[in-house]
Amino acid sequence: MDDILLDVQDLKTHLPLEEGLLKAVDGISFAIRRGETIGLVGESGCGKSMAVRSIMRLAPNFAKFSGRVIYHPQAGDPVDIAQLDAHGERIREIRGGEIAMIFQEPMTSFSPLHTIGNQITEAIRVHRAQDRKEAHKIAIDLLGRVGMSNPSQRMSEHPHQLSGGMRQRAMIAMALSCEPSLLIADEPTTALDVTVQAQVLQLMRDLQVEFGMSILYITHDLGVIARMVQYVAVMYLGKIVEFTDVDSLFYQAKHPYTSALIKSIPKIGKKSRRRLESIQGAVPVPINRPPGCGFFPRCSVAIPGLCDRVEPPLVQVAPDHAAACYVYPEVAEAANAPALEGQGNGL
């Protein structure tokens, strides 16, 4: 793998709560190449948001955090973000300057008391160190590029004066203001109307080409995945259970959880009057979880005695396609040796 931008290895974020240890992110590994878009899918509560927050070192202070997050800047040596001081100088340079983030709720993501302009120029002035006027000009230009009408007037408006779509555009403008090499988008269109959603997605794709950046796209919406990304990581209970390119995901899903997810998408054109399939049961509470595969209680192909004992590791089961399920002999094989030592996640 060449030209890697971000390499996440065995990232763990555990939250010690009153009720027990919450393994929000439990050893995930993936890599993002330059200019590439990767999707991170999963149900709510599977740990995807916590995962990207950990990458930015924005997880809560009390979280236990381990693993490696190697970031390769355009110029200079690779840096392991996991080793940085979470409040230090370097991580603040990276945040916003090299890796930017946009969030699900465009309403709450902006401070309601400050103008849009104030909040955008603030980021520009932190990273590009320009004077007020120059920053103002850059911000107006950006607002125009994300398709906002009358950008100079928008600058002095407050968030509540904008529509949801406009706010999300402003958010994108703010994220792109320092020309980051990676944009992390945490369900940016979930709270928007479908038509607005389509516009925002199109905008992001256009801007990706224009800025030449990578995108890490987090969503629970498989439809958005199909339109936006090249590679997909499926997350379940803090782990990646399948990793592949977007076509293989939809046509040759390997993990039973992924297959179930895909079956639950309503399809246009099919004449059947069958009920839409849903996945049995609910996501188990990830606190003090029993050993074994997290999907075991809901799985239709589970092997009792194996799946409920040892956690299946994520192993390559086809070219460019990894899954963590014992129905594939490769997985059982890989699990065997380390399993004896009590280790779940080898590769």
Binding site: L58, R95, G97, T108, S109, H114, E122, A123, V126, H160
Partner: protein, 331 residues
């Protein structure tokens, strides 16, 4: 905007009008009147009660009129001439009697509010940033004690400490040499040096409750998405806390003036009684017991004017601070 202001002022006028009626009636509800109290007091001390004098007083103050007529006798000159009427007990006009006391009440209240903010904002900020630290627990505990101790008890304890440690009896707002002097810069300065004790005593409960409110508010704000956004922009933690959550938390602080002010005015009344301060509190207590209607009603009304005005000002400040409220009110 202007529309809102006018509505607000009209509302204030209505509130004050209702207060005037309410206080006048409440004061007159107990059986008997000032004249009867006066008569029975004379009788008790063995003096001869001059029926003619009583009749004259009754007529002069209109105490034999129906209550609503008495009310109008008080309120009409008040509105038309700014005349608060006569105090029965002191036999002189009410306004000069309460003028200086009102001013002092206001001074203590404002100083107490400033004290409350000056102390509670930094402590709340510290406690919220260092949640569950030893300092946080310490301040929380102190706050709890401050909240649980009646004002007058704090005043008493203060006085005892002063008496025991320094051998001085605190109390009053002026040194003896200024007591009967007219106002001057020196007298004002003398008053300022006497302010800290009453201000601390009056402000303690308010400080404790504001720390609690503000700490919770800040902790709440820290969880908000926009703080995460600000962090993800790479802002310095200190800078962003002041710019966003603290600024947000200022809204409830400012609007808390509305609840803080009545509390402070109440507190200063009782503390003044204990510390012997020449504010409205002790005089009001005396007038209420003596049924000195005009004096008591005037003071209740003026105290309400103070609080209503304070709430109005805090509302204006809030509008200036929060664009959302401005926006809402403009439409």
């Amino acid at each position: 905007m202007l529309n809102y202001l006018l509505r607000r002022l009209l509302y204030m006028a209505i509130v004050l009008f209702l207060v005037s009626i309410l206080s006048f009636y409440i004061i007159n509800l107990p059986p008997g009147s000032w004249i009867q109290n006066y008569a029975s007091e004379l009788e008790a001390s063995g003096d001869i009660v001059d029926q003619e004098e009583l009749d004259f007083l009754n007529m002069r103050y209109g105490l034999d009129l129906p209550l609503h007529e008495q009310y109008f006798r008080w309120v009409v000159p008040l509105i038309t001439k700014g005349d608060f009427g006569q105090s029965f007990e002191w036999g002189q006009p009410v306004w000069p009697l309460i003028e200086e006391r009102l001013f002092l009440t206001m001074t203590i209240s404002i100083a107490s509010i400033l004290f409350v903010y000056a102390v509670s904002v930094p402590i709340a900020l510290y406690s919220a940033i260092n949640q569950y630290s030893i300092g946080d627990y310490f301040f929380s505990f102190m706050g709890l004690i401050g909240l649980a101790t009646p004002n007058f008890l704090i005043a008493l304890v203060f006085m005892i400490i002063m008496l025991r440690v320094f051998g001085v009896t605190p109390g009053g707002l002026f040194s003896p040499e200024y007591l009967r002097e007219p106002w001057s810069l020196a007298k004002f300065w003398d008053m300022l040096t006497h302010l800290p004790v009453p201000v601390i005593v009056v402000g303690t409960a308010g400080t404790a409750s504001l720390i609690r409110i503000l700490r919770a508010q800040l902790l709440d704000e820290f969880q908000k998405q926009y703080v995460l956004t600000a962090r993800s922009k790479g802002l310095r933690e200190r800078f962003l806390i002041v710019k966003y959550p603290l600024r947000m938390a200022f809204n409830p602080i400012v609007s808390s003036i509305g609840s803080l002010l009545p509390q402070i005015v109440s507190g200063s009344a009782i503390v003044s009684i204990v510390l012997g301060l020449p504010t409205t509190g002790p005089l009001l207590l005396r007038s209420l017991i003596a049924q000195d209607t005009y004096a008591a009603a005037s003071m209740l009304l003026m105290l309400s004017v103070l609080t209503v005005l304070g709430v109005f000002l805090s509302d204006m400040l809030l509008m200036w601070l929060d664009p959302r409220i401005r926006y809402e009110r403009a439409n």
